[in-house]
Symmetry: C2
Subunit: 250 residues, 2 copies
């Protein structure tokens, strides 16, 4: 039996945002590995072993997946969103690069998914409709000064911005510092979107101006989008639509 | 009959990267509008009118879709990739904002799709596995000096970068200027990926160092990814894998 590893993105939560190629990979798999809440999204069946692991053990999980593939198993590593955006794909390749030489002959593929910022953007209009950047605000894996530098340069570039992992119980204060930098560098009417649990029954979309934004509006299930200086809000009958125009004038 | 507009992302090309929610919307639609090659990806059926339009008439197409919805039709506006990333969603909201007041009561939804940069990243490893930005290199809708400024600030921020619309027949020279700026600001061994026709039978993934990159490596079907200064290449038996590590050290 020839083993493989597929690193698959389950999207933000809605079952009908999972692509058919990922559904097919799960049908062919012998083993699924991933962070507990993502593995719980997989329907159990005979012949499929589910391996749940805790947060912050990404490299252990990646090694486990590669080892099982080397033994002939067909392994799906599940991420939420897209596996290449602040998720498991980089961890698997880190483990592969530093692992046994034989792992370099393994069949390892990444299958893309709908990442949180694009689902959040779709739910609120088209705030990322012009040039934009994506920044992970967690300082677990990089120093705060790198985050601050990137934030200031992104404002200067007038990118729309997507912030992943804005705030968690172990990092309650960093997002307040981010808002402070935005207040120093952007106009008070800059548009922010707090998108929580996008595409799930608990979805909440909160459109606010920068002057009204508060750190508590974000939690670990939130992705925060920040408009560029040109981003607009349309008041419609049922909701507000946020979009960034395609053009920048001369 | 209550009309609606769904702005749907068909993904980069592979049918099994189209999400089930988009397949369902197409099943319920009376009309599909879009740029010719995207409309041709839709399977014709009785009761479904296909409206093909040329490139660069996005606002006309958006107005047409909104007008049909106002008349009670169920309209899917098709984009390739994700409709919110350099595609039709912003155009529809521009048309809505400047159109008749009655359009503000229409049911208009965006359904996300797999955008080209994420499919290209998946096909080559995980080059966007850390903070990154997405820049449209076309100067049809913004002046060149904005592109240049964003490019230089993104290099300074040490983002990985995704370039959409790097080069076309009508813009043969701009991408050469982009490479020149990258050569002035990045090390010669910076990793570039030219990903052409991703997920289709014509897919080509070309991994090169900046010192070896040439403008002719890109065409209008190419998305170009540029690694950060930390992006790595693993030589595997079957191919090269490119990934950006999750960590930045102190």
């Amino acid at each position: 039996m020839t083993g493989w590893v597929v690193i698959a993105g389950l999207g933000p939560g809605a079952p009908d945002m999972v692509t058919p190629e990922i559904t097919a990979a799960l049908r062919d798999a012998t083993d699924v590995v991933g962070y507990i809440p993502y593995v719980r999204r997989i329907t159990p069946r005979d012949g499929l072993r589910l391996h749940e692991s805790d947060n912050r053990v990404e490299i252990d999980r990646a090694q486990h997946a590669l080892q099982m593939a080397a033994e002939g198993k067909r392994v799906v590593v599940v991420s939420s969103g897209d596996p290449g955006v602040f998720a498991m794909a980089s961890a698997v390749f880190e483990a592969l690069e530093h692992g046994p030489e034989t792992w370099r002959s393994l069949d390892v593929r990444v299958l893309p998914g709908i990442t949180a910022m694009l689902a959040a953007a779709a739910a609120s209009g088209a705030p990322l409709g012009h040039d934009f950047c994506a920044i992970n605000l967690s300082d677990n894996l990089k120093p705060w000064n790198v985050i601050e530098k990137r934030l200031r340069l992104s404002v200067e570039a007038d990118f729309a911005m997507a912030f992943y992992n804005p705030r968690s119980k172990s990092r309650p204060d960093g997002f307040g510092a981010v808002l402070k930098i935005l207040r120093e560098t952007c106009e008070p009417q800059r548009v922010l979107i707090f998108a929580r649990a996008v595409s799930t029954p608990e979805q909440e979309i909160n459109v606010v101006f920068l002057c009204d934004a508060k750190p508590e509006m974000a939690d670990m299930r939130t992705v925060v989008l920040v408009g560029s200086s040109l981003t607009r809000v349309i008041d419609c009958d049922a909701k507000q639509i946020v979009y960034t125009p395609r053009s920048v004038s001369q």
